[in-house]
Assembly symmetry: C2
Homo-oligomer: 356 residues x 2
């Protein structure tokens, strides 16, 4: 899922998303609650209608943004008090409030309120966050059921539970089992991709995938690079959201099957080949590295957009290929080839959790 | 002609321009010379190939930008010394240089070097600028003929002469006759739309259109609003370039048949109708005023792009309508209706001469 933080995937329109083959997009409740406001979006007929997107939308609960944008947010068992990053005004989220917001947004998949601790976190800190997240998950479910699990516009909404527990395997397992006891239609692994070593991430993911039911979607929040996605799928993950294809593109860093391409580098100034000669996206069919580099260097929006279109196309084709090879039974072989061609990456997780 | 200052019409790709029905675009020699450099663009196969645009391109000579971006530019009969607005480095343009640059860019219509004085200018100042512009026009023509009036890539290029003379009718007429003696395939009225009262602009335009040959294109540089275009066509103008549809759109000001619409205004926050209900552009078919306003308010690039697509579509349809009514012989009647519906405008010319 590409990230539509404030009601658009940055630089793209809904027509572009369809052209690139995007299936589900993610909207940020925190951002949409602050501007333009969830009530205005409800008045517009929901987020689908507001942004003219008729595909599925997943909204987060806002928890991640509260904690990452508000280091001084006050958390109690009842909820979280925080200040708007726009104007410093005070706001309060609790389980009932995030359900209210997401029901107004009319998204198709909605998330429970959780507390995402940063890395590293003490065991005590992580335990406390788990307790709150678990309590809030239960309250979210109760609140959602009050409204027959539907949005304000009568759309059926799937409420996913989120597993926290930082990098502590035992805590993760305990949290997972408690969340599973609440019986959600899908489960998310939260609190990863926040700066921990990748070996740790994958240990947790591996462990959780062995516990979580096979017949329900497993969603690894905030991941990841192309190689991360491939490795996580191997463990059993079904869903991802990440800003990397879009945010990195706007910084001039695009993805190819042979790894990342830093378009700002001087070597590309007179490189008149496409970003990826084998890519059939609109950018690669029409424009050169030199042209896109020039546009980005001089601050032209069109450059950000062309780079975004390419990288998102790359991610969508990657996931298509993964689905295809799983169906054909040759995922493992394809994966080995892909990782060999793609090359090595940073070994720290969490390059990109939010569009800013 | 929309303005492609640095090798792209801001926020749009060449595919977008085709979709909107753009026929000719303008490129700025000054900007392209500084970044990425005309030699790099020649190496890329010319500006058409560099930006993947196979329609006609007009390039200016860079004169206007030198004077507007470099108040300390040193002008002599030989040429102009100026500093880059990027890094303060010194550069020198003379008639031969601007032909060299435009031959490298491989544009279809190229312009002579001229000195554009600001408004108001003393008669003496305006006379001097006319003398230089006339001398440079002759030298440009000579230089261009040396190369058989072709670009470095063998493309035939039409070199247009530019008439200066500020707001002095006699000086304008004298300059026009001298430029016409040099026999260019097209004539531009420069040094207008720089802040003078509109009545003055139209007096000059009217006078010049009575002198300039009817069988050659007449180009009013840097104009204008929708009403300006209609009025100038009535005088006999054939060609325009202007940043208004694109730059104003990025500031949230879009054009409709009923005048300008300031989308940032609070009244549009919950206005779920399209910018113009009668418009069939991609923006009006899919998005509301409230949505575009929200995107622009929170700084989302997609908002700038959707607004740009609308306003450029509006300008292109306006010019189509003008051509159609001229052919049908009912331009005058249509014009009266259009101006009545469009309403009044600022009476100062020169809102937008350059994308910045």
């Amino acid at each position: 899922m590409p990230i539509g933080t404030q009601g658009s995937v940055k630089t793209l329109s809904s027509e572009d998303l369809k052209d690139v083959g995007v299936r589900v997009i993610l909207g940020n409740s925190y951002h949409l609650y602050l501007r333009p406001g969830h009530k205005l979006i409800l008045e517009a007929g929901g987020l689908h209608k507001f942004m003219s997107w008729d595909g599925p939308i997943l909204t987060d609960s806002g928890g991640y943004q509260i904690f990452s944008l508000n280091p001084l947010a006050k958390v109690t068992q009842e909820g979280v008090r925080f200040q708007s990053h726009w104007d410093g005004s005070y706001h309060y989220f609790n389980p009932e409030k995030v359900i209210e917001i997401q029901r107004a947004l009319d998204s198709d998949i909605i998330m429970t309120l959780d507390e995402c601790v940063s890395y590293p976190a003490s065991l005590q800190r992580a335990q406390k966050a788990c307790e709150f997240s678990l309590d809030w998950a239960e309250k979210c479910k109760k609140e959602h059921q009050k409204f027959n699990s539907q949005s304000d516009l009568g759309t059926p909404q799937a409420l996913f539970g989120i597993i926290q527990g930082s990098t502590y395997p035992q805590l993760r397992e305990k949290c997972a089992r408690s969340i599973m006891d609440l019986d959600f239609p899908g489960y998310a692994m939260g609190g990863l991709s926040v700066g921990e070593p990748k070996t740790t991430t994958f240990q947790i993911v591996d462990m959780l995938c062995q516990i979580l039911p096979r017949d329900k979607p497993r969603y690894l929040m905030g991941a990841g690079t192309p190689a991360d996605l491939v490795r996580a799928v191997e463990k059993g993950v079904d869903m991802f959201d990440c800003v990397l294809p879009t945010r990195n593109a706007r910084n001039g860093m695009v993805f190819t099957r042979k790894g990342k391409l830093p378009l700002r580098n001087a070597e590309f100034a007179s490189d008149f080949s496409p970003i990826d000669p084998d890519c059939d996206c609109v950018t690669c069919k029409n424009y050169t590295r030199a042209y896109i580099r020039h546009l980005i260097q001089v601050g032209e929006i069109t450059g950000l957009r062309l780079a975004t279109l390419h990288s998102l196309h790359f991610y969508m084709r990657l996931m298509e290929k993964i689905r295809e090879t799983i169906k054909n039974g040759d995922f493992t072989q394809w994966k080995d080839n892909f990782l060999a061609e793609y090359g090595s990456e940073n070994e720290i997780f969490g390059e990109g959790r939010m569009e800013s």
